[in-house]
Amino acid sequence: MSFWHDARDQLAVNHAAAAAYTYTSGVLGSYRSPSPNNPASFRAVRISYGDCFARAMRMSEGCFFKLVDVLRPHLPVGGISPELRVSMGLWYYGGGSYLDVAAVHRVSHSTFDNSVWEFTDAVSSTKNMDITMPIDDPQWRARTAALFQQRGDSPLNNILGAFDGIAIAQEPPTARDVSFVADHMSRKGFFAINTQAMCDANYEIT
């Protein structure tokens, strides 16, 4: 019983903190999207997610901060803090609606959009997040083949990767972008982009 009271009290405190923050920042009373010059602090965003932070970000909090550190050199300096940019980016990739993400982070929709692309560029330009396969490294080969054999309890000890295709749904492409739109209809019956990928025995895409 006392546990529930404690949890609820804590929740109330969290809400009060978030609400107080929002209120004192003077956003209430305006139906326009919040000013991009006045984004929420990461602290306020963190508080508003409460226990659900890991679920919203699709990774543990420790992993989140590791990602922020890795991306920091590649994110724009000034303006929105790296933590906010990463949390907006992750929540977008996690499936968040731009309306909700922009509201929680208190930025305009265009700032959110720019921020997601800056996040994407940062991930793309981070060398050690590249999708690579150290195929010319004999140690890696031996390790990977052994792991495949062990995971599958298989007599085959020479498999370095497994690959397959996946149809990722997209909105119908426009005739301006592609030469023949019907080519992009998948055999599953929706417009899709065929993505080929290879992974190792640890489910990492290589």
Binding site: G95, S154, A162, I166, Q196, A201
Partner: protein, 185 residues
């Protein structure tokens, strides 16, 4: 677009099919290979299952079983990426030129989570948190049953034959299929 067409158009696919540079020869000499499903063409670097459903001899069938246990990893990896990256749950709504980088980023974030998330949990929203549709629009695009045919029969792959012999040497048959009620018997 068919899987094998897309594969042949990719850098890796062209490399593995040609298998002409020194690295490819080194891998072949080391008897290494990559596992694909029956949508792809067999080559010396690409191990695919023997075609046909029934009528395979027991060792070819056993090889198909062992080979598929390697392919399970990519199927599950796709499942994990899609589960984690909710942006893939609905049609991607952006210009065509941006699609590849977004998909790659989703894969990279998945890898980052695999490597650095010590909890090992794929954090996803609960059933009431979001618009997750069980009939996800992202579906596995492989595993079309390909009948044994002249085109398939013409594909020579020493790799596949050698691996079949390895399975035979290890004496590993496909485990018997247990019926749903087999615990009664």
């Amino acid at each position: 677009m068919h899987d094998s067409t897309a594969f042949a158009g990719s850098d890796f696919g062209a490399w593995a099919t040609a298998a002409s540079d020194s690295l490819a020869r080194e891998l072949i000499e080391g008897s290494y290979c990559f596992a694909g499903d029956e949508a792809y063409a067999a080559s010396e670097l690409v191990a695919v299952p023997w075609p046909g459903r029934g009528g395979l001899n027991q060792w070819r069938d056993a090889y198909n079983f062992c080979q598929s246990s390697a392919r399970i990893h990519i199927e599950q990896a796709f499942g994990k990426v899609v589960q984690r990256m909710g942006v893939l749950w609905r049609p991607l709504r952006m210009s065509y030129a941006k699609l590849p980088v977004v998909i790659q980023t989703a894969f990279k974030l998945h890898n980052f989570g695999r490597r650095h998330d010590s909890t090992g949990v794929v954090h996803v929203t609960g059933p009431n948190d979001g618009p997750y549709d069980a009939r996800s629009l992202v579906q596995d695009n492989g595993a079309v049953a390909v009948a044994a045919g002249p085109r398939r029969a013409r594909q020579q792959s020493h790799l596949r034959e050698r691996m079949t012999r390895e399975v035979e040497a290890a004496g590993r048959l496909r485990p018997p299929v247990r019926g749903m009620l087999s615990f009664i018997a």
